[in-house]
């Protein structure tokens, strides 16, 4: 049994409980946050947080850390593995990698930054076992995986016929079979078209053979998501991502779910999460007249509370792009001619990778760098925009502290901007934005907002009674002047990270690495409906998959510490 902990005298930022930098004590017992009166200080470990910032543990709503794509990246980029290494110690395993880090060091690095919950956003159903195997070897953090369902043959066929109930029963079965957390959509219909080397070009462009439009897929899956009352909303990577002039897809996708009523067993305010929106906020109609359309996107988000986004902030330098959007990666290869990896998955999805260098002398990359920041600064409610780099697509997660410094300091942005391509300011309004994020707002976009959007705000992303004791203590005194350097340094390494009531990081060093939990959603639909669905689906399996249906579902052995969210979805409203 771990000792109770008392965190004393810190400046606490806990937006979900409306606490904005108040000096408070936090008491921890049995992995949970408890009333201070329950913990006897004489028996507790005391953490003196005087002049330090205390926040809930960080949450990353979108980070490629486990499974076929990231492992493909590690496998075909030994140069990335050779660039960075961490030796083994008496308590820790070794590892390598910067943009595609190996599993053990992924957990350590996140924990050192005060992050304790991670979402792997791209799990192909057929390869789900692989994702879980890797998640089991990412220590410390709680985690979950989003099941890729936006190009699924069976799903598309049901939705085409507007068989929403059967579609819901199928998606419920899929989430159970893959032990997934939510419905992930990547380039709806476009990835299927890519299996013939094509793509879909607009929201009304029908998918080859399946004859369903991206709009119908997005709308249909949003409906199904709410029928199943899932904790998180649909989580979408929009069509034509990474193409000039694509910002209309953010607005169009948001419009597709506008009328879908939110129904969830948890608490959330959005019915669509549009991920790494930087890549979808491009203006112009070619790379020549490429410009930022962050303002238009932000304006739409500001007037549509049913939408949340994450930044997908670009970090200058080398990284590895990876996505289930097959045609996008081929396009990147045709731009930079670096090595291209493609992996399509039968009946379900695809995947591609290309190494990428975001260059400050490149105008397009420079404008891209401004877009993520513009989105964060222009969207008024921080509960609608979350910090991300779409790790590692726009940059590795270890660079989050730098993004925080850019958001909190106009000076830091100006200084950075001066080093980018000289024409950047003609294509972006970043230089005119005065807003500086407060620590309270940083706590929203790195934990509280993400917890709420994920439907986990009952136990994650806050420091109220009964919340999981996942806490970060940063060496930052809000009463002093917060220079960009200080901010970046403080958020890079915590003074303490506490995970599930255990101290896992002290003074920037990992002191122990317990295993986290896997969250997954298990909606139960009507039994008869499920049987009807299974009769049809089992035929498709037998004919077109190359594995037996009985061997498809992920066994419980692959989730040694799991947190099932059971949902009664037997009655649809």
């Amino acid at each position: 049994m771990t000792k109770p902990i008392l965190i004393r005298n810190g400046f606490v930022y806990d937006p979900l409980n409306g606490i904005n930098g108040e000096k408070m004590n936090i008491a921890i017992k049995d992995g949970k946050i408890v009333k201070e009166s329950i913990v006897n200080p004489a028996e507790a470990q005391i953490i003196d947080s005087t002049n330090k910032v205390v926040m809930p543990g960080g949450i990353d709503i979108h980070t490629h850390i486990a499974g076929y794509a990231i492992n493909g990246g590690r496998l075909y980029r030994p140069e990335d593995g050779r660039s960075t290494f961490e030796p083994r110690t008496s308590k820790l395993r070794s590892g390598t990698g910067y943009s595609v880090p190996s599993t053990f060091v992924t957990g350590y690095r996140y924990a050192r930054m005060g992050y304790t919950t991670l979402c792997e956003p791209a799990m192909p159903p057929l390869l789900a076992r692989h994702t879980h195997e890797e998640l089991n070897e990412i220590p410390i953090v709680d985690n979950m995986a989003f099941t890729l369902l936006g190009n699924n043959w069976i799903g598309m066929m049901y939705l085409k016929d507007q068989e929403y109930e059967l579609a819901a029963a199928f998606i419920a079965w899929m989430l159970r079979a893959t032990k997934g957390y939510t419905i992930k959509i990547v380039n709806p219909g476009g990835t299927e078209a890519w299996h013939w080397g094509g793509n879909v070009k607009n929201l009304k462009d029908p998918v080859p053979y399946f004859n369903i439009t991206p709009w119908e897929i997005i709308h249909g899956l949003a409906v199904v998501n709410e029928m199943l009352k899932l904790p998180h909303s649909i989580h979408i990577h929009t069509n034509m991502l990474g193409h000039p002039g694509n910002y209309g897809f953010v607005i169009g996708s948001a419009e597709a779910t506008k009328d879908v009523k939110i129904e969830t067993i948890k608490k959330r305010e959005q019915n669509i999460h549009i991920t790494h929106t930087q890549f979808s906020s491009f203006g112009g109609d070619s790379w020549k007249n490429f410009r930022s359309e962050a303002e238009a996107v932000a304006k739409h988000v500001n007037s549509h509370p049913h939408v949340t986004i994450d930044m997908g902030q670009v970090i200058p330098g080398e990284t590895t792009t990876m996505t289930a959007d097959g045609p996008l990666e081929r396009g990147l290869y045709e731009i930079n001619h670096l090595k291209w990896l493609n992996l399509d998955v039968e009946l379900e999805t695809g995947g591609g990778l290309v190494p990428f260098i975001y260059s400050k002398v490149n105008l397009v990359n420079s404008v891209q760098w401004t877009i993520g920041l513009e989105l964060a600064l222009l969207i008024k409610d921080p509960f609608q925009v979350f910090l991300s780099t779409d790790h590692p697509n726009a940059g590795p997660f270890v660079r989050y502290p730098q993004i925080i410094s850019w958001l909190m300091s106009r000076k830091a942005r100006e200084e950075a901007l001066s080093k980018f391509h000289a024409d950047t300011q003609r294509r972006s309004i970043l230089a005119t934005l005065n807003r500086e994020y407060t620590l309270y707002e940083i706590a929203v976009i790195t934990r509280a907002g993400q917890a709420l959007a994920l439907g986990l705000s009952d136990i994650k992303g806050h420091l109220g009674i009964n919340a999981d004791a996942d806490i970060a203590v940063y060496d930052l005194n809000p009463k002093e002047e917060l220079t960009p350097e200080k901010i970046e340094k403080a958020f890079s390494n915590t003074t303490y990270t506490i995970k599930g009531g255990e101290i896992v990081v002290k003074d920037g060093k990992v002191v122990q690495a317990p295993m986290g939990r896997r969250f997954w959603a298990n909606p139960q639909t009507d039994e008869e409906l499920e049987q009807t669905m299974l009769r049809g689906v089992s035929k498709t399996f037998a004919r077109y998959y190359t594995v037996s249906m009985s061997n498809f579902p992920v066994q419980n052995e692959y989730l040694p510490r799991h947190n099932e969210i059971k949902i009664d979805a037997t009655h649809f409203t």
Binding site: G97, P101, G197, N342, E346, L353, V547
Partner: protein, 439 residues
């Protein structure tokens, strides 16, 4: 008589990992196997063949003598804990759970850990690290491919159900008429049994693959080629290039004929580039024909744990990868290894003679269900249960699809899963290192 049928069992012979096998078990013994090929059937039937090891063996005065599992583990741990440059090799016929413990052990003792990829598709891996790869899961080929090319590989002998389950013969969603909807092309140095089934057969001169691939790339990209390349006439090459460009979905499956003939990784680099070039015209994918059932799995596990797919050296306390230096054969040829642990593999039967000579000089520990040439060299030979027949586990198909291996029968008495044996060794090594195991 107690009879049961285990359905949808996974065959643990080759990289096809066929998962539709029916095994009939009577009184705890396998009596019938359905759906498997001749190789898979032998895997299920021969699990109790006479070569099956019964007791742990330990070498005393030059003779292998029976001993207890505890003694064998103790001796193995002593050898490994003392070694300055231990080599941990094999792994391709073991489940991923064993791989995980094996890698942890390698890290603990600062070993070089390598698998059979090193002497098999290693050059393919090196090539895809140079140029990438366009690939997919096998169901994509089954449902879509109208052109299937086997190059330097002979599935009729080596992967007997590959064509019937995944590529040429099955009916697919967009290929309702099965083989009638597809063209099969074989490129090989001789007319193999696979070639006999092909619509087109191109006979390439031995070691001529690089030239032929280059000629195809030239033809695909609209350039002139000589009258004859690597023994293949210009017209045939141009015709094939045309077929490749005009198909809707093409797939190349290459074997060691391309990987291990002259040129090695350069051949693969070239053929991967050919497939990438074809992407400008149509959909094209390519696969290495992986041999052992879980050689793909070891590469996956080692990659996610260390960042590298084979030949990892932990001697500096962090993973280092440098094929040619950290590969098993090279560590033996340089006579560096001073102890070896061999798991689920038989390097004595497959390594170059000089490497085996060094293996014979150093203490060797084997963890293997069957007696092999390598177990004959062993200082400690520990028998294990067979994953996929007697123990559950995880394996990755040649196209990276992970499958849960079934347990069909109970392991014979005293035969532990390899992962358990490895765990015991690891714990003992740790105890020795902290001094607690000295008593």
């Amino acid at each position: 008589m107690a009879t049961k049928v285990v359905s949808d069992a996974v065959c643990t012979y080759c990289g096809c990992l066929c998962d539709d096998i029916e095994v009939l078990v009577q009184d705890g013994k396998i009596v019938d196997v359905r759906h498997a090929c001749i190789l898979g059937t032998s895997r299920f039937f021969d699990y109790l063949r006479p070569e099956r090891m019964v007791k742990p063996l330990i070498r005393v005065d030059g003779e292998l003598k029976e001993t207890s599992i505890d003694e064998a583990v103790k001796k193995a741990a002593e050898i490994l804990a003392k070694a300055e440059r231990p080599l941990l090799y094999g792994w391709s016929m073991a489940g991923c759970e064993a791989h995980q413990v094996g890698i942890e052990l390698a890290e603990e003792i600062g070993a070089v850990i390598d698998d059979t990829t090193s002497v098999c598709h290693g050059p393919s891996v090196i090539a895809l690290q140079e140029v990438g790869i366009s690939t997919c899961t096998l169901g994509e080929v089954k449902n879509r491919a109208d052109l299937v090319i086997y190059w330097g590989s002979n599935p009729m002998q080596a992967h007997p159900r590959h064509m019937s389950r995944y590529t040429v013969y099955p009916r697919g969603f967009f290929r309702e008429r099965g083989w009638r909807d597809r063209v099969l092309v074989v490129i090989d140095v001789r007319k193999t049994d696979t070639a006999k089934l092909a619509t087109r057969f191109l006979q390439v001169e031995p070691n001529g693959d690089y030239e032929l691939i280059s000629a195809l790339r030239l033809a695909v990209n609209g350039n002139k080629i000589p009258e004859k390349v690597a023994g293949v006439p210009r017209e045939e090459i141009e015709k094939l290039a045309e077929i490749m460009k005009s198909c809707h979905f093409g797939a190349i499956f290459f074997g060691l004929g391309v990987t291990s003939s002259a040129g090695k990784n350069r051949n693969i680099d070239n053929v991967l580039s050919l497939v990438r070039d074809l992407g400008a015209y149509t959909k094209f994918v390519i696969f290495p024909m992986r041999g052992h059932y879980n050689v793909t799995g070891f590469g996956q596990v080692l990659t996610w744990e260390t960042g590298f797919p084979f030949a990892v050296d932990f001697s500096r306390n962090y993973p280092r990868y440098n094929p040619g230096e950290t590969t098993a054969v090279d560590v033996l040829l340089r006579e560096e290894a001073d102890a070896a642990l061999i798991v689920a593999s038989d390097p004595a039967a497959h390594f170059p003679r000089k490497a085996v000579e060094h293996l014979a000089k150093i203490p060797v520990i084997t963890i293997e269900p069957f007696r092999s040439l390598t177990t004959q060299y062993a200082t400690v030979a520990i028998p294990s249960a067979i994953t996929g027949i007697e123990v559950e586990g995880t394996a990755y198909r040649m196209d990276h699809v992970p499958l849960r291996l079934h347990k069909v029968v109970e392991p014979p008495e005293g035969r532990l899963p390899d992962r358990e044996i490895l765990k015991m060794i690891l714990e003992h090594v740790r105890a020795l290192k902290t001094g607690a195991g000295q008593a």
